[in-house]
Symmetry: C2
Subunit: 231 residues, 2 copies
DNA sequence: CGCGAGCTTGACGTTGTTCAACTAGAGTGG
DNA sequence: CCACTCTAGTTGAACAACGTCAAGCTCGCG
């Protein structure tokens, strides 16, 4: 096994998953004891919307998408996740149901921690609860930006937002392999696959991005940001 | 002063604001001591997006809107609030900034509690923290529905959602005074004012709703729900 | 070499916005 | 009591944005 074999422990995840640092040693041990790790092939579903929440997931390798399954088989991607992300979901203390699905984009591995251990820590460890609250609030702010992007910007602005998001948050580079499909890009920006393709081409023709063999390179960040800001 | 004069106490709010029930008596006293109440005229701003969070608000009378100020002077209304709502905001533990604005739709009163008292209780009272977490998660789930409504449904579906929302959550009746303006209805459904008006007229012509002098009555809930579901 | 999934393109139709004009009703001052 | 104004609401026509459909393309893979 590579960097995250079955013999890894929650202590190791500390470096990556920030809110774990508020757990006590005993809690980390409890987390580690209840934990199991699973491998997923690209395309496989990790969490399915509408099913019960039994575990929270710490994503350990690969790339995955978190998306809401909406109407007419249309999905809305909320976020792309990379190793180090901890995914519970808003149903945790409410109805214990998944309100989104998560599926692997590339081959991935994920660690699962019993939801009851998580809840135990929330109840016994205020710092951890507060850290979780803070985390959820940050997510909330992100969602606000997404609301504005999706409802008030037109396609150029939304694609610009997506390209910047992938560059800044996911790949940490202004030149990266697209990895996600055109359909995913469309689901991320709430438009049709064809429209997403057209805007990409438009950006390419305008020398805002370079695009070959799915390798994207941002040539003109300023123009991209302007598209994002104009709307 | 009417039902909520300056001489009311936080204990009275217990009946209305559910998460207050997890506060201890001492905490309620502390909340009550730091508290002050303010009257607002229709249209006045209660919280302004982009300013510092100094207090959380318990809305005590009237009707108000929570909205994000987006691009080109367009607003997106996240929710309408009525007495009993407790409004903090996702910035609370993150950057201490308001990420939305709140303004009074009708003449209103609101109670303000020092943010530090609130944070103190979060830190000292796990049950309260968990209850807050649960509340925020519920909000999160609502937002997911809003995402789907706004990005995947067309205008009829969105207006239907808004009418149902006002009926079920705000006025608790299928016959109510619209109170909110057409512009507000448009901001709630992410469309232009003109489009909102046209859909209302369409619903009226189709005998789905009755509408005179801003008094709306739902005549055919089934059709309304079908519009909401078809998208 | 051929198959199939994902990608691309163009033509066309629909949805929703914009603009401008008009209306109704609620104050406001003479 | 009557203009006058101001704001919210309404309507229609023109237009832009976006989705749909259908066809063709590319490229990896068996």
């Amino acid at each position: 096994m590579t960097q995250n074999g079955d013999n890894c422990s929650c202590q190791e995840c500390l470096r990556k998953t920030s809110i774990f640092e508020y757990l006590t040693d005993e809690e980390l041990v409890a987390f580690n004891d209840s934990r199991y790790q699973t491998k997923y092939k690209a395309g496989e579903i990790i969490f399915k919307q509408g099913t019960a929440i039994t575990h929270i997931m710490s994503f350990t390798s690969g790339l995955a998408k978190v998306y809401i399954e909406g109407y007419n088989n249309r999905d809305l991607i909320l976020q792309i996740i990379k190793p180090g992300s901890l995914i519970g979901g808003p149903g945790v203390l409410v109805d214990n149901m998944h309100h989104f699905s998560v599926s692997a984009i590339t081959d991935s591995t994920a660690c699962f921690i019993d939801i009851n251990e998580y809840k135990k820590s929330l109840n016994n460890n205020t710092e951890f609860a507060i850290a979780s609250l803070k985390e959820i609030n940050s997510q909330h702010i992100e969602n606000f930006n997404k609301f504005i992007s999706l409802t008030q910007k037109q396609m150029q602005g939304r694609i610009a937002d997506a390209i910047i998001y992938l560059s800044d948050e996911i790949f940490n580079s202004n030149s990266y392999d697209m990895t996600i499909s055109r359909q995913d890009l469309a689901d991320l920006t709430a438009m049709s696959k064809e429209s997403a393709i057209r805007i990409l081409k438009e950006f390419k023709d305008d020398k805002i991005i370079q695009l070959n063999h799915n390798k994207i390179e941002i040539l003109n960040v300023d123009k991209l940001r302007r598209f994002s800001e104009i709307g």
